[in-house]
Amino acid sequence: MMWLVFAFGAWVLGWWVNARLSALPRTRVTRLVVPLIFGLTLIAIWEGVVRGLEISAVLLPAPSMIAARFAASTAILWEDFVQTVIKGALTGYVLGCGAAFLVAILVDRFDFLRRGLLPVGNFVAALPVIGMAPILVMWFGFDWQSKAAVVVVMVFFPMLVNTVQGLADSSAMQRDLMRTYAAGYWTTLLKLRLPAAMPFIFNGLKIASTLALIGAIVAEFFGSPIRGMGFRISTSVGQLALDLVWAEIVVAAVVGSAFYGIVALIERTVTFWHPSQRHS
């Protein structure tokens, strides 16, 4: 009962503080603090409800339990992190996005190819590509190579479509201006069209960053060596060790957010000139 009161109190307090804060003029501090308080409130409610209603740890462990488990098994978590994120997701991400970028530049040179590939690429980008995972696991074996291959396939088309669209984004006037400067194809590409394509390219990179992690983890469900986040999640669910599963989820969430955040940060420094980045 006490814990339920605590959960309710946390909710009231959190909401009240946030309501007060959001009534203030928006500053950098409130933009950061308000969501933080909201998140803390959620965790407090979670803890309170789980303890108050005495929900079995097999169903939903309390945040404190997850934190304890996290601290106790950092070695396992690190091993899984290296296997899934560094070897699987990151390799695939770099290979896939790099390949898509090069193909996009190639495609862009030939109008025929562009008109043919863009609808097909858009179509493939909407397909459940993740279903390729079992096939690629069969081709490339159980280790991280197959995970990287799944990630490559998943990120390739979103990245390709975005880059091709970006390369077409410079206006005819701008291209004409480059021509009056007697700029060749490569100069135009480097000085005008690639910079102009950057917002689109980063959009693709951001979409790909979340896809990469998902691809690497889900591919492990179809077979993996005895390490990796996807492997750990699926086996721990079988052993009803849900606190370990949640610890892996925390890692995945933090890595996913950090990955996205880093790409967004690079975007801000590269495309500082774009209207969406200009905060007055």
């Binding site: 190819l113 043919g116 993740i130 096939i135």
Partner: protein, 287 residues
């Protein structure tokens, strides 16, 4: 016939050509193996013929997948556990339920975010953060936990679909509901419009183009969610189960046919939303 038809057809043809060639190379090792064991000598012609008609090829040729799909859809009874239509229906029902739930949740959240400043500041960042969590990774846990509480069958899969599909709807709808500019809002105010009228007659109609774009993304995401949600249920029914069973037993043709079926399903659903979009926007005078 648009001017894009020829290039698109060329690209599609090229993909099929590459597929056939890749099938020869990937399956050649097995064909050579078999030939040396039986003491035959493979000519180029028999090699190609063999690589395109193996029982469990590394990469089945398109026509093999085509025959498999034909056999499991048209020639099997729909009630049969081997019918691909049956499995597609299992996946489709979870997809549609999850899509409906996700769209509802997404629109509700978007209205809250647009009308409540506190929600805007506290919920919106978490909506975005929620998508960096690879939900597909925790799908097995959600299924198992919900099973333990006594919820099984359609709903757990639909929950995963919902989680994946509500995000694009929230983002699109927030953008859409905020798309009327100050001039239009002022116009409504000069007509002494109430908040409800402002919502139903200005904000909601002007959010429609945004909504439909989001719905297409949400539908594709929802299908992925349903397929992945079927993986941990022990391969009982559904396209995801076919994928998993196929990968356990090395039935590559089965995997590919399930995959093509999923792709066709996704394409059909997205096309359906596109059709509704065109009709609605035309009636509203926006397209």
């Amino acid at each position: 016939m648009s001017r894009n038809t020829l290039p698109v057809l060329t690209v599609v043809l090229a993909i099929f050509l590459l597929w056939y060639i890749a099938a020869i190379f990937l399956n050649a090792a097995w064909a050579h193996d078999k030939a040396t064991r039986s003491g035959e000598v493979l000519t180029a012609q028999t090699l190609v013929a063999d690589t395109w008609s193996q029982e469990k090829p590394k990469l089945p040729a398109p026509h093999q997948v085509g025959t498999e799909i034909w056999k499991t859809t048209v020639e099997k009874k729909i009630t049969s556990k081997r019918s691909l239509i049956y499995h597609s229906w299992v996946t489709l029902s979870a997809t549609l339920l999850g899509f409906a739930l996700g769209t509802g949740l997404g629109i509700a959240l978007a209205v809250g975010i647009v009308y409540n400043r506190t929600m805007d500041m506290s919920v919106m960042p978490w909506v975005i953060a929620s998508q960096t969590i690879p939900i597909l990774a925790i799908a097995p846990m959600i299924i198992v936990v919900l099973n333990a509480v006594g919820i099984s069958g359609l709903l757990p899969k639909a929950m995963i679909s919902m989680y994946l599909s509500f995000f694009p709807v929230v983002v699109g709808m927030v953008k859409g509901l905020r798309s009327p500019d100050a001039m239009q809002l002022d116009q409504m105010r000069t007509w002494n419009a109430s908040a409800a009228q402002m919502f139903w007659r200005l904000r909601l109609p002007s959010s429609m183009p945004f909504l439909f774009t989001s719905l297409k993304i949400a539908m594709a995401a929802s299908l992925v969610g349903a397929i992945v949600g079927e993986l941990p249920t022990g391969a009982v029914a559904g396209l995801g189960a076919r994928l998993l069973a196929g990968s356990y037993y090395g039935q590559t043709i089965q995997i590919w046919s399930a995959l093509i079926m999923a792709a066709a399903l996704a394409a059909a659903l997205v096309a359906l939303i596109g059709f509704v979009q065109r009709m609605t926007l035309k009636r509203m005078g926006m397209a």
